[in-house]
Symmetry: C2
């Protein structure tokens, strides 16, 4: 039966992807440093074998045999996505794929060196090459939508670059105005929580939301991330910098990614539908827990209690203020919830202009400085605090940044839709209870896996398309903190 053969191959591809995730998690969390060269070989081999099996002629044969065959609704979706993935993967010639992979490794290394030296010129040649290769990659796919659209499709199928342009235009207009209002606020004292107290508090908070040793791990890594090796093996990481509270936000952020993958309908396990559907929906899940739970006024008492039990008593109101105060900064990853999307809008504008040839790589630092001035009112003193702060372009990821801002928008839309469906969550959050939130997300978002793309999923869950108003309503109160 061709459907059985197809499903067997798709299950195998899921396993290979889990192995890749395991090898990457291990590299970032457990591997001794000198293992890096060997790990590169392992990941390279895994990528080659995966590509070979994901693009093989057999899949085309099975798909052809399945045309016109009566299938269950689930199998129809499996076949639809299998065809899309197979066709997209086959459009990229193996030589280009190999060159991309090499350029991305080189680009990340050049980026590391340039950032350490605070000198964009050390990164520029690698970025030129990455831009050229991204165009070549986009050309393989593009079907009238333009090269940038093709890149975007890799991360968020169905999201249109045009739509982003108008959405981000409106968003940045509104947010820049709110930033002006916020400029009045005085300095905010961030509780200087020692690393060990953060670790204990984070462990307690994560236990509240269901993280236990039976099917989770919580580890430390240089940059927080989440890996899922299967429905019952989820691993989040965070970092505990002495004197900060970022770990409280980042651990719930990663938890949001993790919960999404864990609550996909079990019937989709080991099929091509059994994971998150897009980068922006994934980011909406992490942002929902970071912005709408961790930064909820009603939840501040819970976080404060966990910090107090960990040996660091702090008033809930003071903690909440530190979590939501609007203070424009140069660095994306430590931005407040209101200005965060402005950092993304700038990156979107600049990567679009580079890919479309309207911005030369050499002019990037100047354009960055102009953008930060325009959007946040700040001067950029150096490349390291400017266009060298993120690794993404070094690794050849163009079309990825938008999902960070779209995720913020969708999170706010989902939160409003949830409160419309099941009522305000304040009373439960005050008690640290999140079971109803988890259930609503499972029903409305998670269970679908990849069966619905970004926009249809947002429409199904909220009753409307992408909107900026819910996010604006969410951040407006923060301007007076």
């Amino acid at each position: 039966m061709p459907i059985e053969k197809l499903r067997t191959r798709l299950a195998e591809l899921v396993d290979l992807s889990s192995l890749e995730m395991l090898a990457s998690w291990d590299q970032l969390v457990m591997m001794p440093g000198e293992g890096a060269a060997g790990r590169g070989h392992l990941l390279g081999t895994l990528a080659r074998i995966t590509h070979e099996r994901a693009t093989s002629e057999e899949i085309g044969d099975w798909l052809a045999e399945l045309e016109g065959v009566e299938l269950t609704e689930l199998d129809r979706d499996i076949v639809r996505l299998a065809r899309r993935d197979w066709e997209r993967a086959r459009r990229v010639p193996p030589d280009l794929a190999a060159e991309l992979s090499e350029a991305h490794a080189d680009g990340q290394e050049a980026w590391r060196i340039a950032r350490a030296a605070d000198d964009f010129s050390l990164f520029a040649p690698a970025l030129v090459r990455n831009v050229e290769l991204a165009r070549a990659y986009g050309e393989c796919h593009h079907d009238g939508g333009g090269v940038y659209q093709a890149l975007l499709d890799d991360f968020d199928f169905g999201l249109r670059a045009e739509q982003l342009r108008s959405l981000f235009g409106a968003l940045s207009g509104e947010l820049s105005q709110l930033v002006e209002e916020a400029r009045e606020g005085g300095p905010v004292r961030e509780p200087a929580v020692p690393a060990e107290a953060q670790r204990r508090a984070v462990a307690a908070t994560l236990r509240r939301v269901g993280v236990d040793e039976r099917s989770w791990r919580v580890d430390v890594s240089a940059h927080p991330f989440t890996a899922w090796m299967g429905p019952r093996d989820t691993r989040v990481t965070t970092r505990y910098d002495d004197g900060g509270i970022e770990s409280l936000l980042s651990s719930l952020h990663e938890y949001g990614h993790a919960l999404y993958e864990r609550q996909v309908d079990p019937a989709l396990a080991r099929t091509n539908l059994g994971s998150g559907t897009s980068m922006s929906i994934h980011e909406s899940q992490s942002k929902l827990w970071e912005n709408h739970v961790a930064r909820h006024r009603a939840f501040a008492g819970v976080l404060a209690a966990d910090l107090a039990a960990a040996g660091f008593p702090v008033p809930a109101a003071e903690l909440h203020k530190a979590l939501v105060a609007v203070r424009p900064s140069l660095i994306r990853v430590s931005a407040d919830p209101l200005t965060y999307p402005l950092h993304i809008v700038l990156r979107f504008e600049l990567e679009l202009a580079m890919i479309e040839g309207q911005l030369a790589v050499a002019d990037l630092p100047a354009a960055w400085g102009e953008g930060i001035k325009r959007l946040l009112g700040l001067e950029v003193p150096s490349d390291a605090l400017g266009c060298l702060q993120d690794i993404h372009w070094g690794g050849g990821s163009f079309g990825y940044f938008p999902s960070y801002a779209v995720g913020c928008l969708i999170a706010a839309q989902l939160w409003e839709a949830m409160e419309r469906d099941i009522g305000a969550r304040d009373a439960e959050l005050e008690r640290g209870e999140v079971a109803a939130i988890q259930r609503w997300l499972a029903d409305s978002v998670h269970r679908h896996g990849r069966r619905l793309d970004t926009i249809p999923l947002v429409e199904e869950a909220t009753g409307s398309g992408l909107q900026i108003d819910p996010f604006l309503r969410f951040v407006a109160p923060f301007t007076s903190v």
Copy 2:
């Protein structure tokens, strides 16, 4: 070039094997318990893909093209082993391979249940199936040497079952006599070292022999083992049971396995020659560090110093006595150095008889009791303390046990050969210095990788074939402790 194609495929198989090792290490050391089902899928997929690529027609084509081609000495060895491995792997029909894999998983589970219940009858049906399948597997290979010989070849190519029979016969005769002499000794007090002091002492001892964070990990697992993900990523595990000293021995035992893989000639990396050559040579390396270093009278002061620094002072002489005293016991893994091989001799006799059909599975417990009485003079009070103590037969491993005893013999031969070559090690060991031992092992054993099979390697390193006398000379003094 067919040699290039072959070497590319062999490198890929090395990477797949490293991935398998990573996934297994992770499962035993890091994975949350409920990840087990998912991990089974990953390992199954990896095994299928590896088998497919290790047995593909292409390899046969490249080997055929290479016949009569002028090659370097290294490439000749690569081709020789590639042909052997390919032919052996292809002799097993895929259906049988799948059935074996399923039966081994079921058998281990049945063994676990039976051992917990202390009831052999719960394990017997699975063992019957494993024996039958092992025969079928052996039939695929056997070329006049008999079925057991074919099983043995998987672990120790070139070692003859006939030779083992006579070697083990002589060995057990001599050892049983020494056991009689040892029976006079009184009770030995084992230092009751708390787990945390063991952990600190083990870390200190391992640092002395070169274990550092740059390219090693030391972790805890239920059963000690070693995994190597590449030449610069070696991971040993041990366990620290309160009140014992087994971790001092087992950590150096695992270190011996690890050092072997690390000191293979770098020119063999990512070829089919770049790993240990056989189970018995591997075990000789672990036993060399366990028996001839950790149990060396001159090294006891070093171990005692590391224990003292870890907060548990113990006289070196008392520690040494506890490490070498001969006291027959029912359990293999906690056996003293003299009686250990007798546990193996019994398992060899019994598995040979089961495979050859002279011993029915139902009669195993009685035969076990008779053997322990004959070899060690002990009564077996229960199946759990008898034939249910080891997992190996549950997992379908027949022909594996002999390597444990052969490893003891080879370790003693190598130690004598080394002292003949570079002199006694007592003075260096008293100072905790092992660099000359490491170098001699690298030159005489490790660097060859798989280029030499067990017997040629022993001959090359020691000047003679397998012998029992060096081992008897090693253990004789222990009878009077």
